[in-house]
Amino acid sequence: MKKIKRVLGILFALGILVAAYIWFFVYNKPHRNFEKAKPDITMSARQCYHEFSQNKIHAGGKVLEIYGIPTSVKKSDSLVVVVFAFKKGMFGDNGIRCTMLADNQKKALALSTSDTAYIKGFCAGYNGSDVVLEDCSIIHKSKIK
């Protein structure tokens, strides 16, 4: 009887541990930290836009690191977006739009068109006009010589 009780106790404790694991690490697992993630693909912003717009690459859902000279940095409400524009389109300039993480917004606003910026983020895909990167961080910037 004592042995059965002990086995039941162990099983109960194991059940609690499994339930806690599922609750914390599966059901409530945190969003991926893209600032710390290793990029799946690294390429120039121009090449990236070209490959997406020519349907040569399907990198939606991947972590991209792109580099190039930003055309502009736009601020609207709570968002700061670094834009690499390459073409005119129906919705304005087409290119790559990088929405910055909150703690990278200040760095992004300080970028100028004389900087080469290396930006990493989650690629939400191509919407027919733009390649959209989210949760972006500035890895590095260097002045054009």
Binding site: G60, F91, R97, N127, S129, D130, V132
Partner: protein, 182 residues
């Protein structure tokens, strides 16, 4: 989907002048589902939208992977099982403002609007009517609308174990701040 996007572009480009076209690339769309198991909300700030104030033609493009959920697991299920974002990366709405004569896009004010059109999700197009408002200011036009959609209409099936506990209809909220296309 590609054909639909091209048709939308052609229709909009065929319109008279740039001066009548208002656009945004950071529009907001959310969907909200209230259900016994749990309420689900997702937000998307990467919405592209264009309005031609002369013809009333209205286009909204939504990247499905740009929806952000509170829970990472929900976001994974949404993309992989429900909307299949890898196969159908974009949703598209093309429509027309029905009561164009009641709206003066050059005079500041808030105007009720009715937009009828076609919403395409997962390659399935269904007619949609959205009621909302256009708020005209000196520099921009703010658009707000809310409308329900039924998931089954777009071939989105909820797995049997949770079927009864997740809402079959979700409310879509649209907020766009449109600026003149330069």
């Amino acid at each position: 989907m590609k054909k639909l996007l091209i048709t939308a572009f052609v229709l909009l480009f065929a319109l008279p002048t740039y001066a009548q076209r208002y656009v945004t690339k950071n529009g907001y769309i959310s969907f909200y589902s209230k259900a016994p198991l749990e309420n689900i909300q997702a937000d998307n700030n990467q919405v592209e939208c264009a309005l031609d104030s002369h013809s009333g033609f209205f286009v909204v493009k939504v990247l499905m992977r740009a929806f952000v959920f509170e829970k990472a697991l929900m976001q994974e299920h949404f993309n992989e099982e429900y909307v299949e974002s890898a196969k159908y990366p974009n949703a598209l709405f093309t429509g027309k403002v029905q009561n164009l004569k009641d709206i003066n896009f050059s005079k500041p004010g808030t105007y009720p609007a009715v937009i009828k059109g076609k919403l395409t999700i997962r390659g399935i197009s269904k007619p949609v009517t959205a009621k909302g408002t256009f708020t005209v200011t000196k520099s921009s036009i703010k658009g707000n609308a809310k409308f329900p959609i039924t998931l089954a209409d777009y071939g989105i099936t909820i797995p049997a174990p949770v079927g009864g506990k997740i809402a079959k209809t979700v409310t879509i909220t649209v907020k766009v701040n449109l600026n003149p296309l330069k």
